[in-house]
Symmetry: C2
Subunit: 258 residues, 2 copies
């Protein structure tokens, strides 16, 4: 698509998040990493376009990584890189990329510096298993590194560590134009706004307009979220949404967007 200022718009840079973990699929753990990474990717112009939650089963990890790594510019995985027998992500990645895997001297050195002499037991050393050719991802929290193979970033599932790992690789990511957003809410039934909103969307096809109903304290409301790479267009359509809400008898307010 062309930019509204006549300049060719930058290519859209995309990402997929793969959450690896039986504990998320069982409902035991509610994933927190997707909602954390999404706005941060967006800030640097990378759009999270899909997420998958898959079990700790090697064949499924291999198949999923192979399916998504060619379809998205970046793939971020979480989970399965700890010291226990059910942490199989590193071996599965090696298989997905058809490379060898063994104790990596760089990763081993990081762990040796972290544990007291004699404390680096076989289980802990397992966290130094890194596929051949991978770049390490720093782990400032507990040292055991993540790694990157081509466009796939393999990170820990524990949010504290996932976040620290992302911060350490964020500068490497090359994004496009960030998608800006604006959210305008009102206490009004979504279905009352639907017809005028459709007309507004037709008038401004370059702005993505989403409508999200909510119930708060027994009252129905609706948030309209506008997304565009063009701040001027966002300003114009934001005012149009407010005007539309007022014309339906509701008082609009600016809400947090993401």
């Amino acid at each position: 698509m062309a930019g509204t200022d006549g300049m060719p718009a930058a290519r859209i840079v995309t990402a997929c998040m793969v959450v690896i973990g039986n504990e998320v699929l069982s409902g035991r753990t509610r994933d927190a990493n997707l909602a954390w990474i999404a706005p941060r990717l967006n800030q640097i112009g990378v759009r999270l376009q899909e997420a998958r939650v898959i079990p700790d089963i090697e064949a499924i990890i291999v198949e999923t990584v192979r399916a998504v790594r060619g379809r998205f510019d970046y793939v971020f995985t979480s989970g399965g890189i700890g010291p226990t027998h059910d942490d199989i992500t590193a071996d599965a990645m090696a298989k997905a990329f058809e490379v060898e895997i063994d104790i990596d001297p760089r990763a081993r050195e990081r762990l040796e510096g972290h544990y007291a002499p004699g404390e680096l037991n076989p289980a802990r050393l397992r966290m130094a298993r890194i596929p051949a050719g991978a770049a390490l991802i720093d782990n400032p929290v507990s040292k055991a590194p993540g790694f990157r193979l081509a466009n796939v970033y393999v990170m820990a599932g524990v949010p504290l560590i996932f976040q620290a790992m992302f911060e350490s690789i964020r500068h490497e990511l090359v994004g496009g134009i960030p998608l800006l957003s604006r959210s305008i809410g009102a206490e009004i039934a979504e279905s009352k706004l639907a017809d005028p909103l459709r007309r507004l969307q037709e008038s401004y096809p370059a702005v993505e307009m989403g409508s999200y109903p909510f119930f708060r304290g027994g009252r129905a409301g609706c948030s309209i979220v506008l997304r565009s790479t063009d701040p001027a267009l966002l300003a114009v359509t934001g005012e149009a949404v407010k005007e539309m809400m007022r014309s339906q008898g509701a008082e609009p307010y600016e809400a947090d967007a993401a």
Copy 2:
């Protein structure tokens, strides 16, 4: 696999959850339906084996539904069935199943009973668009129904409505043997338990043993989650895990499992 009592075990019944919504991928909304449905499926012997979060883009919805409906016994979708222009799930499902879609008289009747005369505007009527051949799913909250096409249950994204819809179809689902679980925690580093836990897993291959580290109030801990269809095996291995924790100097406690 054969049951431990010599009886052939029932087939494993599987499910996939498809979360349809730009708002989840942007991080604006944190999905709550996956963590809600997972344990409820498990109670009736249906295992959630994968989840995907995809945008409100017709081609992607169509492709995803076609990809997963043959691979899992049940598919549950959330989102995109409201009255606004960005609610495109029903039309995408019709396309995925190659059936017609139009205002459904049964669905229209439900909406007519809900709204005051003259209030059923075109946007609201849009919620009566149901693919040909679909069975309706009751919506006790706001009447606009979900629907089922073959093994795909299409439901609302708003948690209150998603939950009510699931409760209304839950009796239709035919599960296998429920997977039971037990969670045992201790304030101990995961890497200290890893080697004995691996040996325990090797001794009891029929029990799935997962290890989940956590940080709470600055202290590191670890939960071992055991899963099996056999309560006796769960009892034996649970005691073995406690014994193992004590042998490493930690005091085990029973935690909530799911």
